[in-house]
Amino acid sequence: MKTDTKKLQELFDAKELVVVNVGVSAFGEAIQKQGAQVIQVDWKPMAGGDDEMLKLLEMMGM
């Protein structure tokens, strides 16, 4: 089964990439330096890394 490559072609042809960078900010900075637009997510473990709380939040769609 071959993939529908329409969305990948849009990515290949992008005149300006818009990139969401989740985590290490240095990766976002390097992308931005090359002219792409970067939206930085200053990620940290939800619920302070508490597994039980995390499961509850996931169930709530967070």
Partner: protein
């Protein structure tokens, strides 16, 4: 100096930020050895291994920052820590990116985003990737330690929506002219690359550019893609996309040899492909690859050579006779007991490639990532005869960034191996990347010079052989980095494979001239 510690509660920073903070802190007046890290188990163990154990660190939670350092006084310590975090704040505020706290908020605010890069700890990565895919974004997953089952689930979900997941453990990607993560800035050209080894595709892209050509797109799949149960979903999607891409004229595939079932699937897809394919599945037989109609390449260098032939260009590589001349000159003045190579590599692909190239010329190589189990080093820190150490292995990188981003891990090894009277040649790789260290040669060049000078003072002559993987568009300046090595007397080869062959020729000459 006395040791001091501080905990900053509920202040999350990523590991690279804290590495930078550590460097800033340790350069402050009145500060000796120090480390800054989040309060997770791996980081706490790192404090112990650095000789910076402190009871206060045990109280830190995973959302807390631990700072431990030797300082001349408590006042000097406190002042230095405050100044360090003030500097870090200033750096963050000067970054013009839009900032969000969650992936959901970011993708909602920017519905035109095409791509999401994820580098969070492995246990959280799948959830973040799924949020991006649900919002219609392609995903580059740098995070590792994601189970094959989770990888499969992500990739099937993505595929059903026409989206590509590159990774997990994906380090090299170039899309729409932008290099990501550990990739090199590479000129655009007619070759579409797709591969399961990051350094492999970066290497080929760099050789294409050195010969005046380039890559339309470079797609990294992550090392797990061509294993079960994933079965090559990303590589097959990559081939589909490159086949349909008008800017791609030829497709280049690079990977270690997959298992028979997955290999058969990839070869069947190549057979069905309307574009010319050059394939390097390292360790795979020529006739098996050629049965698919692909052009066979045995090595990374050969992928570039064969690809460039298709467009009437020649790869810029040293010839065998040039390497022979370099080896012959290098051994002049060596002492009789100098007969071994010591290789120090920043990554596994190059370490393995070098050991294969060397073994073919000069015999077995011991390693922490050996070609066969009987050649495993008992202790990675203690070399034995011919040895190559992969400094990117977990034992060196636990709680620390990869040596491509923080190359100083090799410094003590260079000094130690250079002082070994039985060593005739040191073998090193240098790998550029958009997010890596800006002066990887500069980090170790003084150690190399001192090692060579110490050997000379002892009546020995130490050869140092190196290669650089990078392009002249990279931020690091290929010309300047190469010049630093050459000015120090390092023999610089065009590729890692050639560097390993040169080291093999030197060792063979030292052992009676057999090659």
């Amino acid at each position: 100096m006395k040791q001091y510690a501080q905990i900053r509660k509920n202040e999350y920073h990523d590991s690279l930020e804290l590495l930078l903070a550590t460097s800033i802190l340790c350069e402050k007046d009145g500060i000796g050895k120090g480390n800054i890290a989040m309060g997770n188990a791996a980081s706490k163990a790192l404090f112990d291994s650095l000789g910076l154990s402190n009871p206060l660190a045990e109280q830190a939670g995973i959302m807390d920052v631990i700072i431990v350092a030797e300082a001349q006084s408590e006042e000097a310590f406190t002042e230095a820590v405050e100044a360090t975090f003030e500097q870090m704040r200033g750096k963050k505020e000067s970054n013009p990116s839009k900032h969000f706290d969650t992936t959901q908020d970011a993708v909602r605010a920017y519905p035109d985003a095409q791509l999401c890069v994820i580098s969070v700890p492995g246990e959280y990565a799948k959830a973040e990737a799924m949020k991006a895919l649900e919002a219609g974004l392609h995903v580059i997953l740098f995070s590792s330690h994601i189970s094959p089952e989770d990888e499969l689930e992500l990739k099937l979900f993505a595929q059903s929506r026409g989206l590509l997941v590159m990774g997990p453990d994906c380090g090299v990607v170039n899309l729409a002219g932008v290099a990501f993560l550990l990739g090199s800035v590479t000129d655009r050209g007619p070759f579409g690359l797709c591969g399961a080894t990051g350094v492999g595709i970066q290497h080929v892209g760099a050789l294409l550019q050195a010969a005046g050509s380039g890559a339309s797109q470079i797609i990294g799949t992550g090392g797990g893609d061509l294993k079960q149960p994933v079965g090559g979903i990303s590589m097959l999607m990559g081939i589909d996309a490159l086949e349909n891409d008008p800017a791609t004229e030829y497709i280049l595939l690079v990977s270690r040899k997959p298992n028979e079932e997955i290999l058969a699937k990839i070869l069947a897809r190549i057979k069905d492909c309307s574009k010319v394919v050059v394939a390097c599945f390292m360790g795979c037989e020529r006739k098996v690859v050629e049965s698919s109609g692909a052009i066979y390449a045995a090595t990374l260098d050969e992928v570039a050579v064969k690809a460039l032939e298709l467009v009437g260009k020649k790869a810029m590589l040293q010839s065998e006779s040039e390497l022979d001349e370099m080896a012959a000159a290098a051994v002049v003045g060596m002492k009789p007991e100098q007969k071994y190579v010591r290789g120090l590599f920043t990554g596994g692909t190059y370490c393995e490639e070098a050991m294969n190239a060397f073994t073919a010329l000069a015999g077995d190589v011991y390693s922490n990532a050996p070609l066969r189990e009987s050649l495993r080093l008992k202790d990675s820190l203690v070399s034995c005869q011919n040895s190559c150490v992969d400094c990117g292995e977990d034992e060196f990188t636990a709680g620390k960034p990869h040596p491509t981003m923080e190359p100083s891990v090799r410094r003590p090894f260079i000094t130690k191996e250079a002082s070994d009277p039985e060593v005739c040649v040191l073998l090193l790789d240098f790998i550029f990347a958009v997010s890596a260290h800006m002066d990887p040669v500069g980090v170790v060049i003084e150690d190399i010079k001192q090692g060579m000078a110490a050997a000379a003072a002892d009546g020995r002559k130490l050869a140092v052989v190196a290669s650089i993987c990078g392009t002249d568009s990279d931020f690091q300046s290929l010309g300047e980095q190469r010049a630093k090595l050459e000015e120090a007397g390092v023999l610089v080869c065009q590729t890692n494979y050639l560097a390993a062959r040169l080291a093999g020729k030197i060792v063979a000459l030292r052992n009676g001239g057999k090659q």
